[in-house]
Symmetry: D2
Subunit: 345 residues, 4 copies
């Protein structure tokens, strides 16, 4: 059955499988000391324009968020995130498991804004009981957000400026970074992302890899981060698996190409839904689209296509999610278009 | 350069890569709800003779140890392990990170014995200050151990009996389980392992997989273990990667075949070292061998072969480790034999 | 200077000091095995109508909340509380430090209601992604709340019924329990409180003791709770200090008398503010009153009286807090009345 | 019945109770902002010769150890202690609960030595797998130790030098500091203790207070330590209770006087045991003495006197503990002497 459920439904980009097969019997050291990881690190540093960056390859997104956030925070500190932030809701309390509170502020289509952040930090610092409240020591944003939206360069700069004025750090969750950078209207580049935060990661799992997230510390990693990774159960023995995948993704611009093609497909979806009179819950410029379907529409389409139901609106209609990825072919888009066109009638 | 450094130097067993390629574009749900994982679970339950077992596929060993131990322990409890246990030394404090103390007792070539365990538990329960001491709530053993040794069925039964008499649980770290079950003189089967403990895992990373450890709870998993896995950052989005690997390993007995062949190669190494007058630190019946080399021998061999230096003896000689795996070819054994034979002279 | 800042400004009720002096040189075992603690436990069980209850004496409120919540929750569970709950805001993340998320739902003058709780639990259990969300395993309410309000018996019963229908636990923070039970219109008794929850505590620090909170588990404590208390740094070596204080408070109804007298004084304050045309932010029936003062009023009164500024309203007026306690004398009430009367003009 | 069980059997030094009564109705701010705490801090800074020190008053010993150690360590670090260290055995895993491993090294009568410490740190730093092992980031010693022994100034200096050479910190558990400084042959002063470590605490509970431990950071506290204390449940609302006790203890040298008198009494015990032919397990120069009694002696004395049984020797004799304190009167010493003299015959 046709599926637009998510961007991690298939295996890996074929080039990755090809490279895995080619290098399979090479003997390499474990734990990220292999030549593929070394190469991936160099390629990522170059792509980020950060020759001094520390780069670590971890396995999954929740793991990466918890490990990096824990490493960046002092024991008494918490992390500020949008109420809809992935760490705030959908990670089974992984950050709290590490002992830190997720401090939420209102978001707008998944994004926080510098004014809201500033108001929160000002409130904290002016509260006479502040020492009984968790210290906000880090800001977490996702790029793109859980709703597919992206920050403009100016918006990130404004958030960075607020962070600087309070002397705290900024971390960007880039689980879908490739789709964000390729987002329609995106005016920020990978090197600019790198220059604006203390840590971010380049998502592999959802952008063509079997698994893997590349954490970048543009100004250098926290001391002994390797041990922290091990302590959090996030160190892969066969680090070569991660190294080779990121080496492949950052060779000849594959990572960016995947992003562009998936977003291009998503824009076809967007236009198609709109053309069929189906409204979109959010004006997403990236690979996730959120058409609002009536229950009968959802049922009819659901007979032939898998997608995700995001939430039910008060009027009973359903916000749904259709995601494209590196693996989405034109034939799938066309097939979906035909189905939706029929349903609509 | 020839390498016997460890059993995770190469990629994956070729059948796994083949299957990855064949199934790459199939769309499957994430987080372990894919058909490969379903199939792997069924195959593992069958191989364990545990139709009621809960099976979860995690990514790596330290992660698995910490997640399972944390799930099995109440907050106030600790886990008993040999002083040389992997969780006691080489996991960067991952168990303590979860809030639990590792309570160590003396080991013998990596193994604890039921008498030593009983003595420890008796001491705890008879100490008038015991409520100020961490409650031993679980016993951890590795099979094979970090020194390549294996427990006999009788030894595990005796440990189990002690656990039962104190009402506590038993967890077996099977990071190298395949090599243990194929160990020379091994008199315990996979179903017997399963019947004797509350949880154990079937190591994939070191036995032919790119990554992956299959946790088996023969009597059922702790409540909401899925959420615990997510909370610990151990849930893989593309669970299919793990599912397909274990499906492959447990089809047509591949897992056991890998174990047998690697141990057979290790026995060749053992005989070869002995024949060359090189003593073995431990009489290991599995895929890891620990020849004791003089520094000059180690230097000479080290020019052509990679291996690990385990420790320095008081007399200056070095305990070294040579590991075989699914990937060790006869040519490599022969090449090493030639090198050692020359060095010896 | 006159102070109504809080209910922990003075030392202890004079009877407590008297008893400390009388018993000072008696030699007693440590860690709560002294005769005073034994006696206090019996008196508390009797007052709660719970002959089978387990009673533990801890030192402070945040400590008690974190220790009890951690003991009641499985590792993967979180605790549901009002957005204004003390554990959600003013405990420096002590619950998160123990690894658990505080899941907040909207409150009304500090109280949650059963409908809001039910809606939250229903949402959780119907969300397809629920296993990625923290499991709500316990409900926390405070009696009285941080805003001085109290739940009716029917309201607690309704919350309990929701907890029961989802199979989860209820914990009541009674840091100011004495003032709540004496609250105007309170229709719930101590034995009823005990019968409706899985754990609660009888606050000593704010109700006449130097320190101390008596945790009651009406249906029995979690296994090895003593060790959990020690592990959380909450076990007092000289447990006699806590035992003697609670023995004194629960002899001849002192605890309830303190509550009644302080609330009676607070009602005088309430009437006095109202008579002077000063509105009250919340209709509090307990020992905390929240008059809304203009900035000039606050300044004028503040020259002669200490009180707390709670928050600034959008119109610039200040919500303030005036608290009475066991130590508040009629002379202090009269002095404040005279000051406010003058300021008002 | 006569008791020498421990040094926390009675209430508080009478001067403390007197001061509590005198100041009971004074209204003071909570959480350590009262005038007594302010005064106590100044007196302690002066006694330590550390005008720049940060001083915090916590409630109990295990709580203080866990809170300070957690604040001094980075997330990935562990603390080195003697195998017999209180944090290693008798604190129910409070340090591990905070996520840190206690790394043990052999002790001698409760003390570690600089050579053993150096060997451990050298081993760690030379181990090729060190990044998989917990980083030793802090050294913990107790003064006096759990066996009543004390370090010489030279011994602490040597340990400090090892810490410095590896760039790690030193923390001294002074739960019985008063008895240590008054120990026979003690050649180190309070200011010297302060100058040699990064943090230590002055035990109150066992040296005349109802409760309370004064943590001193001679070079300044970790950032936001107040919030850390709150987060660990270690912040007392009525901080005045702690403040007034330490103010009293550090006025007119009371703390030192208590120490001297208790040690003088302990030396009488030591001489008395020896004179009666009863050997001492350890040559303790402080308030704890460890006579070795036959079982019949222990039984006979135990009929009239409480004391603690420490351990059973292989030959069946019992190591016992007799502790003196601020509350031990000459009459008690004389009574015990008479009893022992009779038993001996």
């Amino acid at each position: 059955m046709l599926s637009f459920t998510c961007d991690y439904s298939e295996g890996a980009h074929p080039l990755i499988l090809k490279r895995l097969a080619e290098t399979n019997l090479e003997q390499e050291p474990g734990y990220g000391f292999d030549r593929f990881t070394e190469s991936a690190r160099a390629l990522i540093r170059e792509a980020c324009g950060c020759p001094e960056a520390d780069v670590f390859l971890l396995v999954g997104g929740t793991q990466t968020n918890a490990t990096v956030i824990d490493a960046l925070l002092a024991g008494y500190e918490g992390v500020v995130a949008a109420e809809t932030g992935h760490i705030a809701i959908h990670e089974s309390g992984a950050v709290e498991f590490c002992g830190h509170k997720v401090l939420t502020i209102p978001g707008h289509a998944g994004k926080i804004d510098s004014a809201g952040l500033e108001a929160y930090l000002r409130w904290y610092h002016s509260d006479p009981s502040k020492d009984h409240i968790v210290y906000p020591g880090l800001v977490y944003i996702s790029f793109p957000t859980e709703y597919g939206t992206i920050y403009s360069k100016g918006e990130i700069e404004a958030i960075r400026a607020v962070c600087d004025s309070y002397g705290i750090k900024l971390f960007i969750d880039g689980a879908r970074l490739g789709y964000g950078l390729a987002g329609v209207g995106c005016d920020v580049t990978l090197p600019e992302i790198a220059s604006l935060c203390d840590a971010f990661y380049i998502g592999g799992t959802k952008v063509g890899a079997l698994c893997g997230e590349a954490v970048v510390f543009p100004k250098g990693a926290p001391a002994h981060f390797f041990s922290t990774v091990k302590q959090h159960g996030a160190l892969l023995a066969k680090g070569r698996l991660l190294g080779l995948q990121f080496e492949t993704l950052f060779t000849d611009g594959l990572y960016f190409k995947i992003g562009r093609e998936a977003v291009e497909k998503a824009m076809q979806l967007k236009a198609m839904f709109t053309a069929n009179g189906i409204p979109l819950h959010i004006n997403s410029p990236t690979n996730q689209q959120f058409p609002i379907l009536s229950k009968s529409q959802a049922e009819a389409i659901g007979e032939q296509v898998c997608f995700e139901i995001w939430e039910e609106l008060p009027d009973g209609r359903l916000v749904t999610r259709f995601a494209t990825s590196w693996a989405t072919g034109q034939a799938q888009i066309d097939a979906l278009s035909a189905i939706v066109a029929n349903v609509k009638k």
